[in-house]
Amino acid sequence: MSIASQRRSPALIVFSTSFVILWVILAAFPFVWTLWGSFKVQADFFSKADWTNALWGVRTVAETGAAFTGDGYYGAWVEQDFWRAVLNTLIVVVFTVIISLTFGTLGGYALARSGYRYAFWLLMIALVFRAMPHITLVSGYLLPFFEWNLWGHLPTAIIVLVAINQPFTLWMLHSFFLNIPKDLDESAMVDGCTRFQAFRHVIIPVMWPGVITTGLFSFLLAYNDFAVTAMLLSQDNQTMVPKIASFLGSTQVEGNVMFAVAAVVSATAPLFALIMFFQRQIVSGLTAGAVKG
């Protein structure tokens, strides 16, 4: 936007800036608190005695001799082999995103170009599918997966995540393709391309912004999923979120909450890098029309 239409009164600038500052604090505070606290002992982080202990690390000093400790990180990464969960998460996330987007771009393109009523109804039914609580779906999978010996393997979890994610992916990508002018691929077809060749040579080169944005949401779903991965993966194939949950202990047995806190901070770090890297694309992808309905 040009400067002219952006010119605002000083009062408005102050108001709008302080609103953003307030929001930034609200958004970042719990995370900053967690980051700081991850270098304390549990008695400080979840301080019942006095919350300021979490700032100064009174118990941390008493128990470890210094105001900061890396015990949580050491415990999670070295003692509890958190890296294995990270590796599994990496595999699950990468394949889920790639397969989701492959299926989704093909399907979304078809839905956007079909023009028949059934395309609309298909989209609607997919959307209603999305309403099914994941936990019910997962309970339904258990028995057949055990019977057919599919349970516990990474590919099983990946394909389930892909399927669960399809309705959203289809919706996003379909509206994105609607905004790519029809003439583009249709003129290619007039020149003798098949539909698939037109898709490959004309559409694929211009679809990346939308795909990246959709990919971000697929990524977050696979990355943060608990219901599917906790119930469908065996211990060796466990991903980060169930692993973190297992650090919390159970009714009878004490867990090690600080391992979980350190692991959460560790799990968020790659997201930082990712968002920083793709920030421009995410926004431009949305801009290019993926969400214009």
């Binding site: 549990q42 008695a43 516990g152 009878q252």
Partner: protein
């Protein structure tokens, strides 16, 4: 931290011992796979069971806190995904209901010389599981605060209430009592304990008809409510993690907590020596002039799947027995209150033993108890918040239970 370190140490030993002890198990072939919860005692067991691997024997495990949710499906498959499921008195029930675990009498006779008779879980004369550890909720109190308030060590919940009042009126603490009263499973368990302490029976004889909406039930609920009035107002969110943190921060004087949490409470981590040095473990209090402690006793044990070959079942049994051998128990003595030979009771086990000796009842192992427990957990918080009467709450529990029991075919 101590528990983690001992586990690490135990696994280090296990690794060292692998080659030496391979022949000891005496299995020549078979596939052993174990499903269980994920905590140090079970980790130690599984590590030792894995020593039997090699020479055509494979031992694998899946230890997860979600084990209860997958066990029925996993053992229903044929062949079963796991040859052994590690269960407790409550989680064995769904496996029994569907006939998914096999009787162990032959295997015990042949390979169970090291097991004590009391470890065998015998149902209608058939051994269905082998228990290896015990647990119970029992009383923890702070001797210094009790003394300061001028009362003697409580032995019944009436004493607890009197002591709590004394502590409150002496201005020592506003909320001296804590129980695991989080809505859901924890709260259900508190009612089960209290009702058992009053001598209540949950079902009409030999049927699935509920039997809690009566004077005993009302008395149990009222005691529970009286106790929560001395609890922090957040008591409906108190699970074991919360109550342990409260205890370690020194903000509670009397609590009923899980015995398995005692080791963590008594160690120096997370607490001050003022708290740990004055923490006394005692059996669960009695209630309403009863003679038995108001708690239920729990065991953890292993079962063998029905849908596997006899060969795998035998290999699994031998490996599991190896996992709870006296040497393993001695090496991991403080991880649990072990039931087998080789266990030396430590400081942290005092409360559990006192409760057992007081004659507390075991948690009822009935086909429909899980449904009752769920109904209790969901329907009692309205009463504790003062939104309905005890009778209404118990009527709600019975109604919720009946609905579930009808869906499950226990009631018509």
């Amino acid at each position: 931290m101590i528990t983690w370190k001992t586990t690490a140490l135990a696994s280090a030993f296990a690794v060292l011992g692998t080659t030496a002890s391979m022949a000891d198990c005496g299995i020549t072939s078979g596939k052993v796979s174990i499903l269980g919860n994920d905590f140090p005692a079970i980790q130690a067991l599984v590590e030792a069971a894995k020593e039997c691997a090699g020479n055509g024997v494979s031992v694998s495990s899946n230890l997860t806190t979600e084990h209860r949710d997958i066990q029925v499906a996993a053992l229903t498959a044929n062949p079963a995904q796991y040859s052994s499921a590690i269960v407790a008195n409550s989680s064995i029930v769904p496996l029994m209901n569907d006939g998914l675990i096999r009787p162990l009498d032959d295997l015990v006779a042949e390979h169970g010389q090291n097991l004590k008779p009391s470890q065998l879980i015998t149902i209608d004369g058939k051994v269905m599981a082998v228990a290896f550890m015990a647990n119970a909720q029992h009383m923890f109190y702070r001797s210094d605060l009790i003394e300061q308030a001028g009362v003697t060590a409580p032995e019944s919940y009436e004493d607890v209430l009197a002591a709590a009042e004394a502590i409150r009126s002496a201005g020592i603490m506003e909320h001296p009592v804590a129980l695991n009263t989080k809505t859901g499973w924890n709260l259900g368990e508190e009612f089960v304990n209290m009702y058992s302490g009053y001598g209540g029976v949950f079902f009409q004889d030999g049927t699935a008809e509920p039997n809690i909406n009566n004077e005993t039930g009302v008395a149990a609920l009222n005691t529970l409510k009286a106790l929560t009035e001395y609890s922090n107002p957040d008591f409906l969110t108190f699970d074991s993690n919360a109550t342990q943190a409260l205890w370690e921060s020194g903000e509670v004087a009397i609590a009923t907590l899980w015995g398995s949490r005692a080791a963590g409470i008594l160690d120096a981590e997370g607490s001050t020596s003022d708290v740990t040095s004055t923490t006394v473990l005692a059996g669960a209090p009695t209630v309403g002039n009863g003679t038995t402690p108001a708690t239920t006793l729990w065991w953890d044990g292993f079962t063998i799947a029905a849908n596997i070959s006899d060969e795998d079942a035998e290999a699994t049994f031998i490996a599991m027995v190896n996992g709870i051998s006296p040497e393993v128990i001695a090496a991991n003595n403080d991880d649990a209150v072990w039931l087998g030979e080789g266990y030396t009771p430590g400081d942290a086990s005092v409360g559990i033993f006192a409760s057992v000796q007081g004659g507390a009842a075991p948690y009822p192992m009935l086909p429909y108890m899980g449904l009752m427990h769920t109904a209790l957990g969901d329907e009692l918080s309205d009463f504790l918040q003062g939104q309905e009467t005890a009778e209404q709450a118990l009527a709600d529990v019975e109604a919720a239970y009946r609905t579930a029991a009808k869906e499950q075919g226990f009631l018509q």
